[in-house]
Amino acid sequence: MTGLISVAIVGPLVAAACSLAMRSRPLGRDIAVVAGLGSAALASHIMLVAVARDGTHTVAVGGWAPELGIVLVADLFAALILPVALTIIFVVEIFAIGQRRTVWAANPQLSGPLLCVLTSGVSLAFLTGDLFTLFVAFELILVSSYVLLTHQGNQSQIRAGMTYVVMNLLASTLFLFGVAFVYTATGTVNMALLAERIPQLETGVRLGIGAWFLVVFGTKAAVFPLFSWLPDSYPTAPTTITAVFAGLLTKVGIYSMIRFHNLMGMDDLGPIMLLVAALTMVIGVLGALAQSDVKRILSFHVISQIGYMFMGLSLFTVAGTAGAILFLIHHMPVKAVLFLVGGLIENHEGSSSLDRSGGLAGREPLVAVMFAVPALSLAGIPPFSGFVAKLAVISAAIDQGATVVVVAALVAGGLTLLSMAKIWNSVFWGRRADGPRPSPAPRRGRRTMHAATALAVAGTLTVSLFAGTLLDLSTEAAEDLRSPASYIEAVQP
C-alpha cells in the first residue's frame, strides 16, 4: 500500500522532473508525462480495490507519531474519488497531445510537467490526514494552476489570471490563519485527533472554526458568494487546461469540505449551508443562460453543479453525504468531457462562440453524439449518471424535509437542460457564420482528440452503468465519514 500511495503522489513529481529535463526532446518528454500520469492512475485503481477489500490503510511518513508527523490515510472516500480524478487527467493529457500544432493548444514544454505537479497535489489533497499537509497540497495544485492558466501570457489570460491568483492567494492566507486557530484551540493539526478534540470545544469556538473553513474551502469550491473568480478565469485558458480545472479543482474544495465538516461534526451549520447551496445552484445556472460562448456557459455550470454536492453535504445525513460523493464521481468526468468537446468545437468551428458556429451535427456527427451524452447527463436525464446522482441527493433532501432546496435543485436542473439545448441549437444545428477561421488540427491529431474524448464519454457511461455499486460504496464511505470513530481508530490504533 505504501508503494501505491507513493506512486500516486511522488510518481507524477518524478515524471515532472524528467519531462522538464527533456524539454527539448518532444518524444521523451511526452513519454515521461504519460508514464507518470498513467502509473498514478493505475495505482489509484489498485488502491480502490485494496481499500474496498481490506478497509482503510494508513501510512505514517517517516514513522513519526500522528501528533508530529504527516499521516496519509487511504480510506474508502479517498480511494473512490482518486481513481476518477487521476484517470481524467490522464485522458486530458492524451487529448492535449492530439491538440498540438493548433492555435488553441497549451505549450507542451510547460503544460506536461505542470499537469504532473498538479496531479501530485491532487493525490496528496485526497490522501492526506492532516490539515497543514492539506494546505501544502492546495498550494501545490494552485501554484501549477496559476502557471497553467497564464503560461501563454496573452492579454486576456493575464487579466483573468490576476483575479484568479489574488482570490486564491487570499483564500490560502485564510487557510493558514485557520490552521493557526485550530492549533491554538486543540494543539494538533492531525485530522483524526481533531475529530476527537474539536467536538469537545465550546460551541462558539467550534462553529467559528467550521464557518472559517467553510469560507476557505468554499472559495476553492466556488460556492455562492465566493464564485466570481471562476467564470472569469476558466474560459481564457487552453481547453485542456480548463477541462482539468473544471473537472478537478473546485472538486478538491468540495472534497475537503465533505471530509472536514463531517469528521468535525459541524451539523449545526447545516441550515445556512443549505441556503447557500440553493443560491449556488440557481445563480450559477442563471449566469450560464446569459452567456454566448460554449466555454463560458460550461464554466457557469461548474458553479451550479457545485451547489448539488454542497447540498448533499449540508444535509449532514448518511444519505446526503453518499449522494454528494456519488455526485462527485459523476460530475468530474462529465464536466471534463464537456470541456473536451468544447475543444473539439473550437477545432472544427474555429471558435467556441455560439454566434460564429452552426451545423456541426451534419459535418461531424460523432462530435454531436459526444456532446449530447454528457450534456444530457449534466441535466440529469434518466439513463445517464447525472440522473442517479441527482436522484440520490434530492431524495436525501426530501427525507430531511428541505423543500426549498429541492425546488431550487429541480429548477436548476430544468434550466441546465435549457442552456444545453441552447448550445445544441447554435453549434450543432443551424448555419454557420462566414469569416476567416484558424486551421484545424492535422488528421492524426484530430483522431487522437476524438479517441480521448470518446474514451472519456465511455467513462461517464461506465459511471451510470455501475451506479448501483458506486452508490453502495458511496454509502459505505459516507457511513465512515459520519461516524469518525472508525477514522480515528485507523489512524491511531
Binding site: 496559476y146 501570457g153 491568483v165 490552521v179 472569469d232 460562448d293
Partner: protein, 128 residues
C-alpha cells in the same frame, strides 16, 4: 500569549487587506507579503509561550519552544516567497502588455451588462 504579537497580527492583516483591495498589482504584492507575515506570526503565536531553541541534546525538553509551528511556519514562508515572485512576474507581464500593472475589467461581463441595460443600442464595448 503575548498581546503585542496579537496586535502585530491584527495590524499586519489590516494593512495587508487594505493593500490587497487596490487595483495596482504592485500594491497587491505588498499586501500579500504583509498578509503572509501576519499568518507567520499567527502560527508562531499558536505554538504557545516562547522558549529556548528546540534542539535535542542542547535544551531540556521542558524549556524548549514548540517546534511544530516553527516547521509549519518555515513551509508557509517558502510558499509565500515563491508566490510573491510569481505575482511580480505577472505584474511585469501586465506592464509590458498594457503599460501599467492595473487589474482590468472583464470585457465579456461589460458587454453582457450593456446588453441588459440598453437592449436596443448596438453593443460597442471595449472602451475600458
Amino acid at each position: 500569549m503575548s498581546a503585542a504579537l496579537l496586535l502585530a497580527v491584527g495590524g499586519l492583516t489590516a494593512v495587508g487587506l487594505y493593500l490587497l483591495t487596490g487595483r495596482s498589482l504592485s500594491r497587491i504584492v505588498l499586501g500579500y507579503s504583509l498578509l503572509g507575515h501576519a499568518t507567520v506570526v499567527a502560527l508562531i503565536t499558536a505554538g504557545g509561550p516562547a522558549g529556548w531553541p528546540p534542539i535535542a541534546g542542547r535544551t531540556a525538553p521542558e524549556d524548549m519552544s514548540n517546534p511544530l509551528p516553527q516547521a509549519l511556519t518555515l513551509t508557509a514562508i517558502v510558499i509565500s516567497f515563491g508566490l510573491t515572485l510569481f505575482l511580480l512576474a505577472l505584474a511585469r507581464r501586465q506592464r509590458s502588455l498594457s503599460g501599467d500593472d492595473l487589474v482590468e475589467d472583464d470585457l465579456e461581463d461589460r458587454r453582457i451588462a450593456a446588453v441588459q441595460s440598453a437592449p436596443t443600442e448596438p453593443d460597442d464595448s471595449g472602451a475600458t
